[in-house]
Symmetry: C2
Amino acid sequence: MNILLTSVGRRVSLVKFFKEALEGDGYVYSADCDPTAPALYVSDKSFLVPRVNDKDYIPFIIEKCRKENIKLVVPLIDPELPILARERDTFLKEGIIPLVSTYEKVMIGYDKLLTYKYLIENSLPTPKTIYYKDDNDINLNMINFPIIIKPRYGSASIGVQKCEDVQDVEFYARKISEPILQEFLHGDEITIDILCDFEGNPISIVQRKRIKVRGGEVERGITIKDNSLFSLTLKLIMKLKPIGVINIQCFHTLYGFYFTEINPRFGGGYPLTYYAGVNFPKIIIKLIRQEKIEPLLGNYKEGLLMLRYDEGIYISEDNLLR
Amino acid sequence: MNILLTSVGRRVSLVKFFKEALEGDGYVYSADCDPTAPALYVSDKSFLVPRVNDKDYIPFIIEKCRKENIKLVVPLIDPELPILARERDTFLKEGIIPLVSTYEKVMIGYDKLLTYKYLIENSLPTPKTIYYKDDNDINLNMINFPIIIKPRYGSASIGVQKCEDVQDVEFYARKISEPILQEFLHGDEITIDILCDFEGNPISIVQRKRIKVRGGEVERGITIKDNSLFSLTLKLIMKLKPIGVINIQCFHTLYGFYFTEINPRFGGGYPLTYYAGVNFPKIIIKLIRQEKIEPLLGNYKEGLLMLRYDEGIYISEDNLLR
């Protein structure tokens, strides 16, 4: 079985995990629109693609899957999820499994106002959130500072700012597209790596705490186990029923846990979960082969640290993909 | 000969290069104040130290060097340079070589107003720079926007902001300690890795262009060779005469090159220079052993790309350094 990872970027470890999980039975393909994406150069085969928002993107990917006999497509960045999700049926009709939830479920994560609404409606804890528009008469003087301002459709912490006062809000609101205001939470940031089967039933839930962040992504983290967070996560998952991999962010405050983000894709820090003993690529391949999956909930190494550093691929520019 | 790398952080590759360069004749020690610094766990021996601005820092380091027979200390972050430089003689009296320039030279790089003054006085191109204080009557309306605002004593692009108008300047000036305003340059960012002998004579000059930056550090880069930049760099170096390793940043604009930063330490992107064929650790060890050094100026592979990704050390929290 051949597998394609799209928008592969710097996900070198993930490519290696998929190669290893295939055990020689098929190739791992990588795609990116940028020929300098390092993960392109550790895959079995790689190719350049149009940008994800280009109208040719989906036809290009499907044509490649047909030609190369690719059976599974794993998208790795947020902006790609709604695009792939909308075309789920097109892929399925071709006998290709896109590892993505349905469009409605993807949008619950992608649109941060919908995330808030969804969590509130399902009685799950989340920070107070409002849509900030010049014309909707928000009285900023009624806000308890500090607060967070961020773009409604954002990813990787781009454009996220802490505001200390009304002046800050007014300043950043001019720079951010469709800004939302969110209660500032004091506490640890926890990421949860979740794997569900294709019917949305949870197979694995792994909690890891962020110790240090760089460019919006975890640089140092540690696996933890908290029972009440486990219950809350299970409640969310049983309700949402996502397909395949999903990554959830939350804060652990004095008043308990608060969910902040739902990203229905591999989290950038997944390698920590892998080394803690939960091999998502292997389970995904088993799911496709309709093999029996052992339940793994809570079954991982606690207190494992991930300490990240930069490694590199060094190649001559003549050898870049064209 | 034993070698100590201080504030070692994520410099895993550099530790490996030094280990390899020693060829088994001595150990590479690493120090950091943070037990989760990954490079601590790839060195031959490692220890935790007080913070660099703690009064016990220098005595602690010297005591360790004595006890472990360490002959070379290589500082790796900017805030450490003035502290180590001020104690150069103390180290030298103990028979320990600190790989750092004199205090005056270090401050030329550390204080961005001094950098500007130094470059101007030596007829070297640099962007117009002014010190921004409420009380020094700057007429912001006389500025051509955009401009850059940054802290006078900054490092790793922390606090650097682009300002589009007077409002932006006034806003960020309140958030930045001792802000300076700098002409915004359009063009490629080029980093130059330089190695000098202990008398300040240049041994190697390698140019690399930044293709992509993450958290103030190069994520993707390529080696280049430009003769006019080579001449300008040589002029700067022959005047400054730094000791050991120095890293210089510049912009390549339509109007030529402009120097922006002088960092008298290993640049974070040095591994690209290493793979382009210039082994600084090996040359440094030869310099200490008073072996003959072959001239290497301009002698490196052009068009070599560095494509960085995250790699990790995975350890149980019980195994953290204490």
